[in-house]
């Protein structure tokens, strides 16, 4: 069987050509129709590519071009690299420089982001699969850049099949926050995706009649499940509008969605907004949560709101392909003691979890240590960062592991419990943020080393935002400084407040004592 990420979609398009594959707003596309859009994109890529597996940036969101672009890239043997359409211009340019893509796929909205400056950092090949005509633009150096539209694509070739790929070929690269201020690219192979999709299908038995509520942006790897697990079994991906993500009960109801995979913040938002009403989401069969700790109270209320649904808490870093452990929620008995959150459960078949001490020696059950992962879902490493890859993926007794930096333990029944982070990586509303990266920007903007970023407030292990501290006199209310931060960081990484303090509290090692700052915030001292 071919491991091309588009292979499952291709097979489904032969078996269920008239099933709905994709629903966006009022637009509904069958498998046959989506294949007719994706295959010409693959053909365009194959005709123009210089290397066997080109990297293709996908600068698009929730549009037909997004999905046809990703499918076409995979079909043509390329590696897709999602790029957020919400990035400030400087960050977008920095990322384009990191990716060095051979091609870029845009939609009609993201075309507007291609300023002269941005175009100077874009690859030569740019495609807008939905654009009626090709568009001529100019880069900084006044060089002509053509964004190819529909007209530049060949007509659909019904005989064409996805290019066969090896398990080690890269399926996608997901860029996440990095400690040094430079985003790091997690490379995921076709073999890792195949294992993940197989494990999910074995765990849930999705059917061609399923309708999956697609909430995740493509820059969040839950979208890998939304697309490929759905299309692998001939089901429908119903893409939620960006304006309905906070509390999607109405969307789920209207779409008669049967599957949702999202972050626990969605459940807590709905709880606060009084939208987690008993029986409100009867169509759901599977409700899957990951990305942050799942509070028992949210899981309980969700079960009542979706009475026909299984509720599962899934866990895994981007470096182990979306998720790789799971715990079915049936009641408070599935909680991590004294934490009020659901346990992360047991690893998927084929994946291994170990708890180790700082010397990487395996600890007995009940003892807390760093959580390590091994198995076929592990990332091939960080893009263009060999040292970081070696440090994060050590080989121990002949086996390759990933150091998650998460603190956890295994109980005597073999269930794993997550206790938080060892380092300063936090999740802000489900999105991964290295606090050091925020601090790196603060240092540069405020021109001082005395800065600290704290994830606060935190509810059941999930942060709602970032609060920053800067020591010294720097014209704190200067709106230019806020603009500078906003121009350079994605919204969720921008501190909601920057406090000026005379000095920052330090711990015994002379490092900034974030814990003390956190406590002061909790006590309302700021």
């Amino acid at each position: 069987m071919s491991l091309n990420l588009a292979h499952g979609f291709y097979e489904s398009s032969l078996r269920f050509p008239d099933n709905i594959a994709l629903s966006i707003g009022t637009l509904e596309l069958t498998y046959a129709q989506l294949r007719e859009l994706a295959q010409p994109v693959a053909d365009w890529l194959r005709r123009n590519k210089q290397v066997a597996a080109p990297r293709v940036g996908i600068l698009a969101s929730r549009s037909l071009s997004t999905y046809a672009g990703i499918l076409g890239t995979c079909w043509g043997g390329g590696t897709y690299v999602p790029i957020s359409t919400k990035l400030p211009e400087d960050r977008l340019i920095q990322l384009l420089g990191r990716i060095r893509a051979e091609a870029l796929i845009v939609d009609s909205e993201s075309l507007l982001l291609l300023s002269q400056r941005v175009l100077s950092h874009c690859p030569r090949l740019i495609l807008g699969p939905e654009l009626a005509t090709s568009v001529e633009m100019r880069s900084d150096a006044n060089t002509k850049v053509v964004v190819t539209g529909k007209g530049g694509l060949s007509s659909f070739d019904a005989e064409d099949r996805p290019v066969p790929v090896e398990p080690k070929n890269l399926g996608y690269i997901e860029f996440t926050s990095g400690t040094t201020g430079i985003p790091k690219g997690v490379t995921i192979s076709a073999g890792a995706v195949a294992h993940f999709i197989g494990a999910m299908q074995a765990r849930y038995a999705f059917e061609p009649t399923d309708r999956v509520a697609g909430l995740a942006e493509i820059t969040f790897d839950i979208s890998v499940f939304d697309m490929f697990a759905t299309w692998n079994c001939g089901a429908a991906l119903c893409v939620a509008p960006a304006t309905q993500l906070i509390a999607p009960a109405g969307f789920i109801h209207r779409q008669r969605a049967t599957v949702i995979f999202t972050v626990p913040s969605v459940a807590s938002n709905m709880k606060r907004m009084k939208m987690l009403v008993p029986g409100a989401m009867p169509s759901l069969r599977y409700s899957l949560f990951s990305g942050e700790p799942l509070p028992v109270i949210s899981a309980t209320l969700w079960m009542q709101a979706a009475p026909n649904s299984i509720v599962d808490d899934l866990f895994g870093p981007t470096e182990a392909t979306v998720v790789c452990t799971g715990q079915r929620f049936t009641g408070p008995e599935n909680a991590t003691p004294n934490r009020g959150v659901v346990a992360i459960g047991k690893p998927f078949d084929g994946m291994e979890v170990a708890i180790v001490d700082p010397a990487l020696q395996v600890l007995p059950d009940g003892e807390q240590g760093e959580l390590l992962l091994a198995g076929p879902q592990l990332s091939s490493g960080y893009f263009d960062a060999e040292d970081l890859t070696r440090a994060s993926f050590p080989v121990l007794q002949g086996k390759r592991w990933y150091r998650t930096g998460d603190l956890a333990y295994r109980d005597t029944s073999g269930i794993f419990h997550h206790l938080g982070r060892i380092d300063n990586q936090v999740k802000v509303r489900g999105l991964r943020v290295e606090l050091e990266e925020v601090e790196a920007y603060l240092r540069e903007i405020y021109r001082t080393d005395s800065v600290a970023a704290v994830a606060w407030p935190v509810d059941h292990g999930s942060a709602n935002g970032i609060v920053a501290f800067v020591s010294g006199q720097f014209g704190m209310d200067d709106p230019d400084i806020r603009t500078q931060i906003k121009d350079r960081l994605p919204g969720y990484m921008v501190p909601s407040t920057v406090h000026r303090v005379d000095s920052l509290p330090l711990n015994a090692n002379g490092k900034v004592n974030r814990k003390q700052l956190f406590t002061l915030l909790d006590e309302g001292k700021f």
Binding site: Q244, L245, A249, G250, N269, M273, K274, N464, S496
Partner: protein
């Protein structure tokens, strides 16, 4: 204080807590423009539910319903408040 003044005041506080002291008009976009985030949207919805008994559980929720003073006014009118 009338209903709309209360809502304006609440939004002013939300913006100010984000360091945004720029003025806004009845048509200024709060959420779609990125001036406020999803956490603020939840706060605003909770405020509207508590103050005006707006119930989103029946109709579903879309951020565009609360994106501007104008949008909130028509939401309140459709719920016969204000």
């Amino acid at each position: 204080m009338d209903h709309m003044a209360e809502i304006r005041d609440f939004l002013k506080k939300l913006l100010s807590s984000r360091g945004d002291r720029q003025p806004f008009t009845d048509t200024s976009s709060f959420f779609l423009s990125g001036r406020l985030g999803s956490v603020d949207a939840v706060e605003l919805v909770v405020f509207l539910e508590e103050q005006f008994e707006i119930d989103f559980s029946e109709t579903g929720f879309d951020q565009s319903q609360i994106d501007s003073i104008e949008a909130i006014t028509s939401l309140l009118q459709s719920e016969k408040v204000g």
